[in-house]
Each structure stands twice: as C-alpha cells, then as structure tokens.
Amino acid sequence: MSLNKFEKIFQDKQKKGKKAIMPFLPAGYPDKEKFWEYIREMDQLGADIIEIGVPFSDPVADGPVVEKASNIALKNGVNLKWIIDNLTEYRVFLDCEIVLMGYCNPFFKYGYEKLAKDMKNAGVSGIIIADLPLEESIKIKPIFDAHDISLIYLVGLNTSKERLEKYAKFASGFVYFVSVLGTTGARDKLPEELKEKLKLARDIFDLPISIGFGIKSPSQVKEIEEYIDGIVFGSSVIEHINKGKDIKDFFKAWI
C-alpha cells in the first residue's frame, strides 16, 4: 500500500533527521488578506503541514491567545465557506499539506458529507476536531475516509494505555499528542511525565506522532526528540505576529 501524504512527509523529514514543522493559524487572522500572506510565507519558509484554524465562538480547548485570535477572525467575517473557497484558489501556490482544525459545531452545521467533499476539492488532507473524542467520531470517520481525508485524533498525558490502544485501531494520518494537561498556549516547561507517555504512544501507534500545545522553542523538545516526528505551534506563532515581528525570525530557530 502506498504511503499517505502525511506518512510521506514524516518519512522524508526522518531521513533528514528532522521533525515536521506544523504551524497553526486561525483563518482570517490577523485579517483576511494578511492571513493568506502569512500562509504563503510559512509555506515558503519550509512549513511541512499548516493547520488552518476554523474559528469558533466557544473554543474550550484553547487558551487566551488562540481564543482572542479566533474572536478577531470571526469579527473579520470568516466562516468555513470562506476558508474552503479561498483554499480552492490559493492551494496551487502551496507546497505543504493543509489540515483544518476546529470544533464540532461549525463542521456539523456545514454538514460532514459536504465538508469532506469540499475539503478534498480544495486540496485539504486532514481534519482535527478538538471536541470530538473517539466515541463520538466512530460514525463520522467513514465519511472522511471515503474522501481520503484523514481524521486526526488528539491524545494526551491522561489518556490511558487502554484508550490509546482503542485510538490506535482507528487513527489515521498522524497522531496529535497534547503535551500538557491544559489548553493551548506556550509554556516555559513541558511536564516531566511527557517522555514516558510518548514512549508508550510510540509503542502503541504505527503512525507518526506530533506534539502540540505549549511549545515555543526548540530547546523544549530536545529531551523528547526521539519520540516525536512533528511539532505544532500555534499560540507562540500568534504571539510572534502580534508583536509585529517578522515571521522569518520565528522560523529560523526551527528550520
């Protein structure tokens, strides 16, 4: 069987001894034009997978930085249709893979069937739904499978071995490992128990593992390097942009 798009990316990076770089930015942030400029810039700077945030009014898994950015995006008039319409136009200019990340309700209202179809047409390879745990995903996953869209699961420090094993039966694309017991937002230090838990996840999953939530600098991931394949950063990118700094400076440290 041929490798899926994600496995190919992670394998290429691995051969080079590198981790996949996966920035997250809420769609339409800081404004509708700037957003696409940033996406193109991050793509050119070497981002491997870009997670486009689908803003939601009540993002319970997010800390203050992403929540505020999402609210601004909503005020800018962004919705799922805008994201997909624009992607259809901009996708050809991007080398990276695109993943949508958001919460159930906007996806549910759009309709999963239509969403999966439109995502495929727009060249999106995966979807991450922050408030869709395994149990609630079972009915929905085949819809995305049918259109070659990977439904990417989140697991965390408190996900038991038994639950990780259940997830392993369904997981596709890659595994998103949440590195803190908390919401999104850059932390100075990652938890002690992260290493052990990542080791366990490595044993259980056949898929690449990316970590996210709380990451802001390469030094943080030194100790866990051998157990991960990709790194997601959201809040730290947004904070960098908010300070009016050049996005190149942020990427320099990682590439």
């Binding site: 939601f56 009540d58 319970v60 159930c104 309700n105 906007p106 745990p133 996900t159 038991s160 908390g182």
Partner: protein, 388 residues
C-alpha cells in the same frame, strides 16, 4: 437508547483530555450514587439542612379567581432560596466520595454559584466559581454572598463575558485540575453523565410533588409546568411524571422582549440543532454554527443552549415547550406577590405566567402544579427598574 444519548440528543463532545474525568464520573454515577451509604447521607442532608420536603402550596386566592386549581411546588423555600441546592449537595457529596478536594463551578446570575459555595462550605471542600465579568458587575450581591461562603469568584473576560463563557472557563480549569477537582455543573446540560446526574439529584422535586399531591387529592395532577433555561428544575419535576402520560408537561422558555429579532432564550422554540459544551442539542446560533448571545429578564434562563433530555421530550412530544415574554413574566411576578404573598423568582414567574393564561381554557376540576423554582428577593433590583 444509545449510551450517553437521549434519542439523537446528548453525547460527549469534549476534548480527549476531559474523557478520563468524565469516565470517572460516569462510574461514580453508576456505582456510588445508587449506593445505600450515599443515598442515606444525601437524603439526610436534604432533610435536615436543605429543609426538604418543600411544601406543595394550594393557591386559594388565585384558584378561585382563575377557575381552576393552582398549586405551587415551593423550591423557593429550600435553603439558599432555590432548587439549585439539591444538585450542588448531591455533587459536592459525590466529590467527597470520589476523594477529590475542590469544586469548580460556573454561574450566570450567581444562584448556582451560591448553591455550590454553600454545599462546599458544608462539606469542607474548596470552591472556585467562574462568572462572566458582565455578570459579576450585574449581580454584585451574589458575588459577595459566594465570598462570604468561602468561595473564590473568578471573573471571565472572554467573548460575551456571560454564562456560556463561564462554562468554557470552568471546563478549561477542569482539564488542568481534574486530578483533585470535580466540575459541579449547574444544569441538565453538558456532556454525559451531567444531564442524567443533575436530573437525578433534582428528581426529588417531582417525587415529593407527586406524593404530596396524591396525599392531598388522591389523584394525579392534570398539568405540570416549569420554566426552562438549561432546564434543571423542569427535568427535576417532570421526571417522576414522565411515565404518567395523562399528566401534561409544559416547559416555559424566555422570549425576551418578544419582538422580532430580539435577543431571547427560547432555544427549543426558535433554536436549531448543534453542539455546545459537550452536548448535541438545540442552540441559538448563526447559520455558520457560531453561538449567539441570549437574553431574558430572568438571569437564570439566559443560556443559548438547553438540556438534551428536553430536546428529546420535545421531539417525542412527551412535553410541550412554549415561550413567555419579559413583560408577561413581570406581570405574573406581581400577581403572585399581591394575591398569595409569595415573591417568586423571575425565572419561575415565566412558568407562572403560562399557568395564569390557562384561565378560561380549562375546567373547574383541572389541577395545575407550577414549579416555583426559586424566590424573588434576588430579582428586586431588576423588577423595580422595570416597574418605573
């Protein structure tokens, strides 16, 4: 029925990080709550501390005017002034049995926050209450009350700065403090097992009402009416009557000002299906699935979602759901004060208003129970402002 669901409504739409504490709570709900020890302790607190059973009052003056029989289930006489305490005592006690030391709660107007702080003080638990910054300002006396009871009130500044944002923040807090903290959710909303757990703790209302009514009249009532925001007092009184299909059940939602395009809280009447705070139910939302602000003169009804079991009762037509405007509720409020000497909560005044409107539509031997879910002392400022 599928586990965690009421028909197609309900579920557990939460981040994976919240699944372990929800599974832990499910086990506690299934094993600890029905146990003899727990039930004995729970019932003894309800009796000796909360003051249960609350009376079932026959409204003599109003009944003769209305031409049918109006009864009130007096949750306003429960300790701390509303039905909310039934649930918080249950969850606080469960927290102790689960070996956790802290309660976190959300509150809108402050009633559930006060009830949680009360239960925490009684049972020696720490208590943190998240409250929208706008509500902190609007409901200053309740903030003081919670603080007197030993709780820490944390204002929430995100988004609309009201109840829904307080719930978001409480859920976030729970994610990072799940090991020693229980989330004491205040209504029959949220992910499974909360809608069932809160309903069960509130079901004492309907059990008592049925028994009291049977004792006084030797029959069942014709009609039971309750207001619905999230819907905990309504589920509490409806649940015991669900199997008695001859008893009509009406939930009354808040229509706000009742003008076209006004903000309201009539989720079951005017909302659409969606997913919020872990549950699939009717919501006030845009076509894109963004949650809209709600409004009611009654702060406790001001929520853009509704308990999934109510959505199911509506779907299966076991209960009907109607709306009452701010003005109609205020007018019912005044009627009860003057005619029966009872100052009702503005939430309960919605249910009462619907009952008063049955005048001329039902027969003389018709018996109606209204769940008087709380007392109105907390609402006097709002009422005086509107009376001007």
């Amino acid at each position: 029925m599928k586990k965690a669901y009421f028909g197609e409504f309900g579920g557990q739409f939460v981040p994976e990080l919240l699944m372990p504490p929800l599974i832990e709570l499910e086990e506690a709900y299934e094993q600890i709550v029905p146990s003899e020890d727990f039930q004995r302790e729970f019932n003894s607190i309800l009796k000796d501390y909360v003051g249960r059973p609350t009376p079932l009052t026959f409204c003599k003056n109003l009944s003769s005017e209305l031409g049918f029989n109006l009864w009130l289930k007096r949750e306003d006489l429960a300790h701390s002034g509303a039905h909310k305490i039934n649930n918080t005592i249950g969850q606080a006690l469960l927290t102790k049995y689960m070996g956790k030391k802290r309660l976190v709660a959300e509150t809108g107007a402050g009633q559930h926050g006060v009830a949680t702080a009360t239960a925490a003080a009684l049972l020696g638990l720490e208590c943190i209450v998240f409250m929208g910054a706008k509500d902190v300002e609007r409901q200053a006396p309740n903030v003081k009350r919670m603080e007197l009871l030993g709780a820490e009130v944390r204002p929430v500044y995100s988004s609309t700065q009201t109840l829904k944002d307080a719930i978001n923040e409480a859920l976030r807090y729970w994610i990072s403090h799940q090991r020693d903290t229980h989330y004491c959710l205040g209504s029959v909303v949220g992910p499974h097992p909360f809608p069932a757990l809160v309903r069960d703790f509130q079901s004492v209302i309907g059990k008592e009402a049925k028994e009291q009514f049977l004792e006084k009249t030797n029959r069942l009532p014709d009609h039971v009416i309750a207001c619905v925001g999230g819907g905990s007092n309504a589920m509490g009184i409806f649940y015991e009557f669900l199997e008695h299909r001859e008893v009509k059940l009406t939930g009354v939602e808040a229509a706000g000002e009742g003008t076209p395009n006004c903000y309201h809280s009539a989720t079951l009447n005017k909302g659409t299906l969606g997913i919020l705070h872990g549950t699939k139910t009717y919501l006030l939302q845009t076509e894109d699935g963004q949650i809209l602000p709600s409004h009611s003169v009654a702060p406790g009804l001001d929520y853009p979602g509704v308990g999934p079991e109510h959505a199911y009762l509506k779907e299966t037509k076991r209960a009907e759901y109607v709306c009452v405007t701010d003005e109609q509720a205020l007018s019912a409020f005044k009627v009860l004060c003057k005619k029966e000497g009872i100052i009702p909560a503005l939430e309960s005044s919605h249910a009462l208003s619907f009952a008063l409107n049955l005048k001329g539509k039902v027969k003389e031997n018709y018996h109606v129970i209204v769940n008087l879910s709380g007392r109105g002392d907390k609402d006097l400022d709002i009422v005086f402002k509107h009376l001007k």
